[in-house]
């Protein structure tokens, strides 16, 4: 789960990581009011995507009127498909130097890695690509935590003249990372100003698997992704017209690949997960069939924890309301029962992923 900049900065302030004074607003009046208090401000779009600066989602203002105008423009924007609903009005702090500090999980080393670069403000991927020598990486033993010498090494690589301040921020940021179950926490830029070092931006990604012990409000947007997640499933929208429902992520990817292989275009990825029951299969069909452009649906279940007869019941429940042709493959646990139930409804049953994928693509072709 991605946090907004303002949410991440709220967390930072709880840990006493220095951030500029700011106010979150969702209309121009709020923007004007906030600017009155702070005079020289930056207006920043709050969206879950990078590159908002380049897209015009950040503006400076030195009067309440300027701030209102800036907020009006940005609040009407859509950045990479994300409509801007909130802006952060933040006091402007002139950076003398912009640095980078981030913590993420090194999958290969299976532990946290802290990354620091004296050149920040731009995309860390660009720094990594163009001048990897400018990034200092330090791996942290998850049972020992960060050692003083490690923080000092990182601080030294950022700015030799500010080592104590930087050590303090690095250690606090590591606590943020651990205590909030972060997959990523990033300060870019970490700026040196005439009044000291300050986090001008903040990025946090929380591990979805740990949300049960974290307290971050989930944003409701009514998206199919969200409905699926609330039902214990995983949905990703794609551009094509063939709806896909599969149990298990690997098999789902294989199914999508096969659909593509036979010349079709998947409309979505939908993993109903191991152990999906009747209700979930039914819900999955509801979600997938409500997707834009969906003209046919492939259901591919290899029962292990999932039982084929339960899946069949879920399909039959929704069948009368469904106007879209289905191609179904059921194998594994209780396969015979499941297949027998569906046969009564005259539904064609495929014996393998490949046969089902081919079948669903052929339906699309014959309708063209």
């Amino acid at each position: 789960m991605k946090l907004y900049e303002y949410e991440a900065k709220d967390v930072f302030s709880k840990y006493n990581i220095p951030i500029p004074q700011s106010s979150l607003v969702s209309d121009i009046y709020g923007a004007g009011e906030a600017a009155q208090k702070m005079r020289d401000v930056v207006i920043k779009a709050q969206v879950h995507t990078g590159g908002r600066g380049k897209a015009g989602g950040i503006a400076r203002a030195s009067s309440p009127l300027d701030a209102k105008n800036g907020a009006k423009r940005i609040l009407g924007m859509s950045i990479k498909g994300f409509p801007v609903k909130k802006v952060l009005i933040e006091e402007y702090r002139e950076p003398i130097k912009e640095m980078y500090l981030g913590i993420t999980i090194d999958r290969k080393a299976k532990c946290p890695v802290i990354m620091a670069s004296p050149e920040g403000g731009i995309d860390i991927e660009d720094i990594a690509r163009n001048s990897p020598e400018k990034i200092t990486m330090v791996h942290i033993h998850p049972l020992a935590g960060i050692h003083e010498y490690q923080a000092r090494m990182l601080a030294n690589s950022l700015d030799r003249n500010k080592i104590p301040d930087l050590i303090d921020i690095i250690k606090k940021l590591y606590r943020v990372f651990i205590e909030n179950d972060c997959q990523l926490v990033e300060i870019n830029p970490l700026a040196q100003t005439k009044d000291g070092i300050i986090a001008l931006d903040a990025k946090m990604v929380i591990d979805d698997n740990a949300l049960f012990r974290q307290d971050f409000p989930e944003e409701e947007n009514g998206s199919l992704e969200e409905i699926a997640r609330k039902n214990g499933m995983s949905y990703v929208g794609l551009d094509g017209d063939i709806g896909c429902i599969v149990n298990g992520a690997g098999l789902a990817m294989a199914t999508l690949d096969m659909v593509k292989h036979y010349g079709g275009a998947p409309a979505n990825f939908m993993d109903v997960r191991a152990g999906a029951n009747e209700e979930q299969v039914k819900k999955a069909l509801e979600i997938v069939s409500s997707g834009k452009n969906v003209k046919s649906i492939i259901i591919n279940i290899f029962g292990g924890l999932t039982k084929c007869d339960e899946a069949a019941r879920g399909i039959i429940d929704i069948l009368p309301d469904l106007k879209i042709p289905l191609v179904i493959r059921l194998s594994g646990t209780n396969e015979k029962e499941g297949r027998a139930m569906l046969k009564k409804y005259g539904i064609h049953l495929a014996a393998s992923t490949e046969e089902a994928a081919k079948g669903v693509v052929e339906i699309g072709n014959s309708n063209k």
Binding site: K108, K110, R213, A249, G250, M253, A254, F302, T353
Partner: protein, 277 residues
């Protein structure tokens, strides 16, 4: 073998399946439920209590994600040789701590978020459906669950038996890697060739290339997620193309460059296996 979380719905159901397959289960563990019975197996309050009564060299974990890491720690502390964790959805920070702890022990962890390990005709630790397996000489190793079933099923239906099938799990931090399993297959006299099933995310597949090149046995690979967009998690916590790393195409190209056969579909795996055996 011990079943941690035996009194849960899945734990109980799968215990029966494993016994039916021939696995020698000697009991289960659920804190607070000691003294009861599940599938005619004694239930203990702790792993330690179980070890006082019986001999155990493996444990399978069905404990819910909030407590699963604790279950793994308990198994490690009690010197269980092989720990297979089926649980899906364990926080990655828990798994980093588990891994750091595991490294200092002699236990081996398979998973989490995996279907386990099956040796047809002998025993099964995990949740792979019983009927799909057939004894033979192909080793199967995969990051997925149901896709493993699909591959094993396809092999069996085409008359190709398996020596052992292993699912290493789809999480970003897991216990046993492709290379660990490939090493075992290389040493295993029952295994004549290996099918490796990979997917997008991370570099687990690429990391196995150097070892595969040194193997005396042929390896046929199959990588899924060619159609996956970057930045979106495809169901598995580990299946995400992030910072441009971990695309299926990159993995396929790396394998092909190293001279490793890459199948484009399950039926192509069968064709390749038949060609070499």
């Amino acid at each position: 073998m011990l079943v941690q979380g035996i009194t849960g719905h899945e734990g109980s159901l799968q215990t029966k399946q494993m016994i039916d397959f021939g696995t020698n289960i000697v009991g289960g563990v659920t804190p607070g439920k000691g003294g009861s019975q599940v599938q005619k197996q004694p239930v203990y309050n702790s792993v330690k209590e179980a070890l006082e009564e019986t001999d155990v060299d493996a444990s399978v974990i069905f404990v819910p994600p909030q407590f699963a890491a604790d279950g793994i720690f308990e198994a490690i502390d009690n010197g269980i040789e092989l720990i297979v964790c089926i649980t899906e959805g364990i926080p990655v920070h828990d798994m980093m701590r588990v891994w750091a702890y595991l490294k200092t022990s002699s236990s081996r962890l398979l998973g989490p978020n995996c279907p386990g390990i099956t040796t047809p005709g002998a025993s099964k630790i995990g949740i792979m459906p019983n009927p799909i397996h057939m004894p033979g000489n192909i080793g199967v190793v995969s990051r997925s669950g149901t896709l493993t079933y699909e591959i094993v099923d396809t092999l069996s239906k085409n008359g190709i038996g398996q020596s052992t099938s292993v699912g290493i799990g789809g999480d970003p931090v897991n216990g046993t890697s492709f290379v660990d399993v490939l090493e075992l297959f290389e040493e295993d006299p029952e295994t004549h060739a290996v099918v490796l099933v990979g997917e997008i995310g991370g570099t687990a597949e690429e990391d196995s290339i150097e070892f595969i090149k040194q193997m005396s046995k042929p390896v046929i690979s199959y990588i899924v997620g060619v159609s996956a967009p970057p930045g979106k998690t495809m169901g598995h916590a580990g299946a995400i193309i992030s910072m441009g790393v971990g695309t299926a195409l990159e993995k396929i190209q790396a394998f092909e460059k190293a001279g490793i056969t890459v199948a484009k579909s399950p039926s192509e795996i069968v064709r390749h296996v038949k060609n070499i055996t």
